[in-house]
Each structure stands twice: as C-alpha cells, then as structure tokens.
C-alpha cells in the first residue's frame, strides 16, 4: 500500500490516490470484521489486524493542533518546560475537539497560545534585562 505524507499541499493525483487507499482500507476493514464475526474461536491475528486498522483510520482522521502555534511556543518558552507547556495545550485541544469540533478547537488553541506567549515573553525580557544589568555592573567594576 502506498503511504502518502500529510501536512503539505497535495496534488490532485495524490489526493485521488489517497482516496483510493482509504477505500481499500475500508474494504479490508469490512472483510476483517466479517471474518472476525464468522470465527468460532478467538483469532488473535485477525483481532490484532482489525484493531490496528481501526486505530490507523482513527488517527488519520484526527486533526493535529495548529503546528505554527506549537512552533512559536516551542521557540519562545524556556526549554526546561516548553515540551510540557505544549503538551498541556495539546491535551486541552483534544478535549475541545471532542466537545466543539476541530475548527473551534484550533481557534481556542491559538487563543490559548497567544495568551500564554505574553507572560513567557515578559519573563524572557526580564531575564535578559537582569543579565544585561549584571554584565554592565561587571564592566563598570572592572573599568572596561
């Protein structure tokens, strides 16, 4: 099966190929479901394959959080907790998506990211000013 990379603008041919692949996947899924229903005993392989395809289809159709907002946060937040901060926003995004749908969840993600950036920037500027003051004091003391 041909795997298509997501996250960039796709050509018409690629979209058609992806649609075909999705239809094939759904056919496979149906076949597996029927096979599973007809089995008298638990077939671990069939069950495993069925669950794998279910998870694959679910993941493919789950929208990801806005990558630009994520990038901004990762770039501006201190490295010690940038990952945890983005993870927290992703967790809220997943909850919002279940409640309100993907579009509204993405808007809320951007709003939260914008609200979070202001205190992070202030903290960053505060630290920079503190270091500038220390450096200027050292320079003055040493007479540079």
């Amino acid at each position: 099966m041909k795997m298509i990379r997501l996250g960039r603008r796709r050509s018409f041919g690629e979209m058609r190929a992806e649609l075909r692949a999705t239809i094939e996947l759904r056919k496979d899924l149906e076949k597996m479901r029927h096979r599973l229903e007809r089995l008298d005993r638990d077939d671990e392989i069939a069950r495993g394959a069925y669950e794998f395809w279910c998870a694959y289809l679910r993941d493919r159709h789950t929208p990801a959080p806005p990558s630009r907002a994520e990038f901004l946060l990762l770039a501006l937040a201190p490295s010690s907790y940038a990952e945890a901060l983005v993870g927290d926003l992703n967790e809220l995004f997943a909850a919002d998506q279940a409640r309100f749908g993907a579009k509204r969840a993405a808007r809320l993600y951007w709003a939260r990211a914008a609200r979070s950036l202001a205190p992070l920037l202030l903290r960053w500027i505060g630290k920079a000013l503190k270091w500038a003051a220390v450096i200027s004091t050292v320079k003055r003391t040493l007479g540079w």
């Binding site: 901060l85 993870g87 967790e91 609200r115 992070l120």
Partner: protein
C-alpha cells in the same frame, strides 16, 4: 531569602499543595479556575512555576508521554519545605492585615 509572593504565585503554590502528587499545568489551571473563578493562562502558570523553581519553592519530576498530549511529557510539581514556609508566612501576613477590618455592606 525572598519572601514576597505575588497573588498568582500564592494561588499556584496552594494548587500544587492541593493537587499533590498530581500537580501539572492543566490540573493547576483547573484547580485555580474552579476555586477563584479566574483562569490564568498556561503560560503565566509556567512562568510563575519557573520563578518559584528558581527560588527553590517547588521541585519537579517528569511524567510519561501520552497520545492525547501529542507524545509530550507532563511535568509534575511538588512544593518544597522552604516553599511551604514562605507560603504560610505570606498567608499569615494577609490574614494579619485583614484582621479587624470593618467591611462596608454591599449596596443593592
């Protein structure tokens, strides 16, 4: 030692104590919102935790990454001894300042 705490730092420390040992960003935000009606942003909570961590008032440990978080790890925070001491002093100062005050009746 620096003993001045901002209101947000007080709220964050109280939330970290209340949620122990499961205090992480979203849980702290929910805890503060449910009890004060004010929702600080996740960024301001982490900025406050960063300041408190620098002062030695909170310690942190990493959790496991989960799929709902896009594979990102949680950071769990715990209040330290000096953190508890400073928080108690700060709350006692407010309590002392507010003792004996006569509040105006709310007018309809």
């Amino acid at each position: 030692m620096e003993t001045q705490l901002t209101t947000l730092e007080q709220h964050v420390l109280l939330a970290v104590m209340g949620l122990h040992p499961n205090a992480y960003g979203v849980a702290i935000q929910d805890h503060i919102r449910d009890r004060t009606g004010h929702e600080p942003s996740i960024g301001s909570i982490y900025a406050a935790l960063d300041r408190l961590g620098e002062k030695g008032f909170v310690s942190s440990r990493q959790g496991e990454p989960t799929a709902a978080r896009g594979g990102k790890r949680k950071i769990y925070f715990t209040i330290t001894g000096p953190g508890q001491h400073t928080l108690r002093q700060s709350l006692q100062a407010i309590s002392s300042l507010s003792r004996g005050l006569r509040w105006k009746e709310a007018t309809a």
